[in-house]
């Protein structure tokens, strides 16, 4: 599903920062993977490249068999919309849209009609237990509820991969477990590939595979 071969990434600047130094990684379809590492180890950069949110300098990245390299903006947008679902630490919900509209957003960019996408959004809100909060704005929801809205938004397009960047970083322990249960369930029931970037060992322990980053390279990959 995800295939990295010799991926390099350097951030330019007065002192260029070589973040990824020839990463080789293969993640199969349906895996539940966590990526761990200290700050600046390159784990988030890795996730961004996986999600086609950032580009890489050298190497080869294949996503679902497709080479992700020098794609035009439109194709990138289509890949992001159809293949990938994102969950962010800070939820990244649009503040003036209610829960239902936030969940429905990816379908808008897929050209789904409003009624259809709202119905589907309600269905996914129901799955995450927030159907009755559909009309609430993000600021009217708790942190856990916001993240559940974000998960519903990530799932609504049936993406092949779910990329979660510190999804529980802003949550308390009880809510953290709820979110993790949800992600594990998605992986188990839907067979979706889930990649979680985290620095919490407890989170990582709940995944089937743990990849450890250090100084821009993978130094441990355990199952």
């Amino acid at each position: 599903m995800i295939d990295f071969k010799g991926i390099h990434k350097t951030y330019p600047g007065e002192v260029p920062l070589h973040v990824l130094k020839g990463v080789d990684l293969h993640i199969d379809e349906g895996e539940l993977v966590s990526i761990m590492g200290a700050s600046g180890s390159g784990k988030s950069t890795m996730l961004n490249i996986m999600g086609i949110l950032d580009d890489y300098d050298e190497g080869e990245y294949r996503l679902a068999g497709k080479l992700v390299r020098n794609l035009d903006d439109r194709t990138e947008a289509i890949y992001r919309n159809k293949l990938i679902g994102f969950i962010f630490q800070s939820f990244n919900l649009i503040y003036y849209k209610n829960a239902m509209e936030n969940v429905a957003l990816p379908l808008y960019y897929r050209g789904v009609k409003r009624k259809e996408r709202n119905d589907l959004a309600m269905e996914y809100l129901d799955k995450v237990g927030l159907a009755e909060h559909w009309h609430h704005l993000p600021m009217q929801l708790s942190g856990g509820q916001r993240q559940r809205v974000a998960i519903a938004r990530a799932l609504i397009t049936h993406p092949k991969i779910l990329l979660a960047d510190e999804p529980t970083g802003a949550l308390d322990s009880k809510t953290t477990q709820e979110v993790m249960d949800m992600l594990c369930e998605v992986n188990r029931k839907e067979g979706q590939t889930v990649v979680i970037v985290t620095h919490e060992q407890e989170i990582a322990n709940q995944t089937d595979r743990r990849i450890f980053f250090k100084d821009g390279v993978i130094y441990k990959d355990e199952r």
Binding site: G51, A77, Y96, L105, Y109, R153
Partner: protein, 409 residues
């Protein structure tokens, strides 16, 4: 498209205060443009109307020597107008032409019992005196019988009466012109502020006195009505020239052989001033609008900056650069169009109010309303302004890196 508009409106609803402030700048710009255009148009119309009323509504036709060869005939030929030409013009019945007056004017020494004075004796037909913006103060105008019977009767200008009769009623008195005794049948007064020393008599009488063997007239005067603009006046002039040139055996392009004067210089000069004024008003109006557009552009830049993270999220969810550009541009166009339209309607309302309150009260200010074509032009300007205001912010928004956008504060 409905979805896109809905997206934009939802975003706009969340930023009402910003939108209102931005919109006010555009509405004010468009309001100013419409009111200024309307007012300038009102002044233009008022000045044209006033100038049409104040200036003689006639064309004078005189002749001179040919300056161009025509039909095998050389230059320097003296071209002469005759009564036949005047009658032919009359028969032709040109559009807008009311009357054709043959005129023969001669300097003469006018004398009565008490005094004498050098004056102009103008031989003319009935109606000519009135056509010269005179009113008959006492007595009567020259009539057809005077003309037919070559009567020695005359109508004096009020100034001539003042000079020779000391303001007393001159009707019934006799006056000599170069030794020929004329009966004064009337006194006229110019409607202009000025008056000249002048006397009028039947053209048949005056020509018989001063030019018995030469049928050449001094000039032909053509009065017209219903002409609203310079184009129509120029068309009439061309028609007259086209008709008379072959009769007078001169080239229609020979402006020295056949001189047709409409006080064009004054009218054209005035027209040019009014045109420049119109252009100036457009420049001022557009400049005001540009100020509004720059305001919108600035606010859109701030908006894009504020919404960087949102736009990043949208791109992560599958929005292409194009769709982000469309989103920002459409918001800009909608803000500009809605508030511009409000400004335009208020501006039109204001011009209507000005028209109702000030029309006919202030001199040189008539119907200060804007034309439909101007409204269409303003609408096009609005859309272009919206696109112009949104373009830079939209480009900036679309070129922001997604990873940077997602961590923007």
């Amino acid at each position: 498209m409905n979805d896109l508009i809905n997206e934009v409106l939802t975003s706009m609803k969340s930023n009402r205060q910003r939108i209102m402030l931005t919109g006010f700048a555009i509405a004010w710009g468009m309001f100013s443009l419409v009111v200024m255009l309307g007012s300038a148009g009102g002044i233009q119309k008022g000045m044209f109307k006033s100038s049409s009323l104040d200036m003689p509504q006639y064309t004078t036709i005189t002749t001179g020597k040919t300056s161009m060869a025509w039909n095998g005939m050389g230059t320097d030929r003296l071209v002469k107008l005759t009564l036949d030409d005047a009658e032919a013009l009359e028969r032709q019945r040109f559009d807008h032409v009311d009357d054709v007056f043959p005129v023969f004017s001669q300097p003469a020494l006018a004398s009565c019992v008490n005094d004498y004075l050098k004056t102009a004796l103008t031989g003319c037909a009935p109606g000519y005196i009135v056509s010269q913006y005179n009113t008959i103060l006492r007595g009567r105008d020259i009539n057809a019988t005077d003309l037919q019977e070559r009567r020695k009767v005359c109508v004096l200008s009020d100034r001539l009466c003042e000079e020779l009769f000391g303001g007393a009623d001159p009707v019934g008195w006799r006056l000599n012109f170069d030794g020929n005794s004329f009966l004064v049948v009337g006194e006229c007064k110019s409607r202009h502020d000025y008056s000249i020393v002048e006397a009028f008599a039947p053209i048949s009488t005056v020509m018989a006195m001063y030019s018995p063997d030469d049928p050449a007239l001094g000039m032909i005067q053509v009065t017209y009505s219903g002409i609203e603009d310079l184009g129509e006046l120029q068309r009439l002039t061309s028609s007259l020239r086209g008709f008379l040139s072959p009769r007078l055996m001169c080239s229609p392009k020979d402006n020295k052989a056949l001189v047709i004067r409409n006080d064009f210089e004054t009218v054209i000069g005035l027209s040019k001033i009014l045109t420049y004024m119109g252009v100036f008003v457009w420049i001022i109006g557009i400049a005001t609008l540009i100020t509004g557009v720059v305001g919108v552009s600035n606010i859109m830049l701030i908006t894009v900056r504020e919404r960087t993270r949102e736009l990043g999220v949208r791109r992560a969810m599958g929005a292409s650069r194009g769709s982000i550009i469309r989103l920002v541009l459409l918001e800009s166009v909608i803000i500009t169009a809605i508030f511009g339209y409000i400004g335009m309607m208020l501006g039109i309302g204001m011009t209507q109010l000005l028209s109702a309150v000030l029309g006919g009260v202030i001199p040189y200010f008539t119907d200060p309303t804007v034309k439909f074509s101007t409204i269409i032009g303003c609408n096009i300007i609005l859309i272009l302004a919206g696109i112009a205001a949104g373009y830079v912010p939209a480009r900036r928004a679309s070129h922001c890196k997604i990873v940077d956008a997602l961590i923007a504060r």
